[in-house]
């Protein structure tokens, strides 16, 4: 059976509205009757990804494939890229600016949380041209 494909644009520069894509996705997953734990993990990952795209990449888009066995979320942006992926994966490391920190973001837990709540995570990034973070959650 073909996976259900969902696409959500993520607006840049709007930290207050961040989280819209994840809450929309969550409602869709609830309508499909997925297990609550799967929905929660997918939603947390998506939210972290959204925040990352807003803070670092002036937005982007999220593509979600909901299959029978797993959910795949691709967070795609055309931002500055991540120069040192290993460093970015360290808990507490963040390059977020003051504005984001003032709002309580930039704790350096975004990517680590996505890793923790997903079953697989892959980062493709090129400095200057953008980043795609792909995560998979088994159902």
């Amino acid at each position: 059976m073909e996976p259900v494909k969902l696409v959500y644009p993520v607006e840049g520069g709007d930290l207050i509205e961040a989280g819209e894509a994840s809450s929309k996705m969550k409602l869709t997953l609830k309508k499909l009757g997925l297990p609550p734990d799967v929905i929660r993990r997918a939603s947390i990952c998506m939210y972290e990804g959204e925040i990352n795209m807003v803070i670092h990449a002036d937005g982007g888009r999220a593509e979600v494939d909901v299959g029978m066995e797993e959910i795949t979320i691709r967070m795609i942006d055309q931002g500055p890229g991540i120069p040192d992926v290993n460093k970015a994966m360290e808990e507490g490391y963040s390059t977020a600016g003051d504005m984001a920190r003032d709002l309580g973001f930039g704790a350096g837990m975004g990517l680590p949380n996505m890793k923790r709540y997903s079953d697989e995570m892959e980062i493709e990034t090129a400095v200057g041209s953008g980043t795609t973070v792909t995560i998979k959650i088994k159902i």
């Binding site: 259900v4 009757g33 997925l34 939603s43 029978m68």
Partner: protein
Amino acid sequence: MEHSVSIEYARCRGCTTCMKSCPTQAIRVRRGKAAILQERCVDCGECIRSCPHKAIKAVSDSLCRLKDFKYTVALPDPALYGQFQHLDGTARVLEGLLRLGFDAVFETAKASELLSDQARKHPRDTASSARPVISSACPAVLRLIRMRFPQLLDHITATITPVELAAILARQKAVQDTGFPPEDIGVFAIVPCSAQVTAAHTPDDLQQPVLDGAFSIRELYVKLLTPMQQIETPLPLSTAGRGGVRWAFCGGEASARAPGERFLAVDGMDSVIRILGAIEDDRVPDVDFVELCACTQGCVGGCLTVEDPFVSTMRLRHLMREMPDSRSDFDAEVSDPSIIQADKELEFAPVFLLDKDRTVAMEKMAAIHELERKLPGLLCGSCGAPSCHAFAEDVVLGRAECSDCIFQVRARMREMTGDGDEYLPTPFRKRRKEEPAEHT
């Protein structure tokens, strides 16, 4: 489940305003009139507030019901006290109710205060199994959580609502005072909103209703004015202090709990839905207690009140200055503490689920997305659904026909006539290059 929110068809013009304001997308327009998808309605009253033709009402019980009982008790919600200008104390309102024909009064605020006292003294007994604890006081929020946030059901306190406790205690007292059997005693709540009317008849947390009915604040307000004015010195009937009366506005319940607890108090359906989503994903750390009110400012904002909710809150705060902190002691006043426990588990109501079988649900979702792509995305409401997505869902679930979309029909006309975008209503035709931009 019966709902108190109902549509007066003679007044309804099918204008789609309520349909777009409904936080659970429970309204459609059918045959020129609004229609409620009963299983999705939480009785929050948003549609009642938004209807420009005053065609939606909350049906409460008729006062004639008082005649069915040998002895009647009124349970006024504390929001009632905020409705009156220049009120010198709650006693005048309570005596006014006696003069209206009730044989006794039992303040809902008294029951609220007892619940607060119990929560402060025995936080473990009233807590839910999961953190943060979510209040069970607003019946519209309870229904919303049952439908849309089932993962949070075990966060909700297992205690009954203040008005339910008031009903149980009032009936016990009336039986003692009169010697009548319990069924001869009519216990009626005076409530600020449609959700409380529904909950009086079909509670979410009790097997059997403990109330005999509910009257609206709005109806009693007018009837109370004259008798209240005629009272010279009111009898000392007030039994609740600040701790109970403040439950009438948002934050009141939370602030009457144990000091040191970190609480969130959220009002308005949109904000409630947003915060529940955040709690579900653990995005609200460090919070112990969550009070959620469907109405702006809490119960004072209920659709069956008279006064502006902000004005009511101001008046209540003023009245509270003359009151003691609390007049209630749960351990001394409630002989059987187990009566505050709900006897029915809150169940998930899967009204948004597309299908029980996930394969079928996914097929339906794919079909919904495919259809939605062909729709104009105008949210015009002409199809009778609140959004193009809701319409696509209705079509796939068999609640609507594809041809109910005016744009779909007109697009088919174009196939026949072949004329540019002339098939669209004028406001939606694309501007031609030579035409200047219009300003209206």
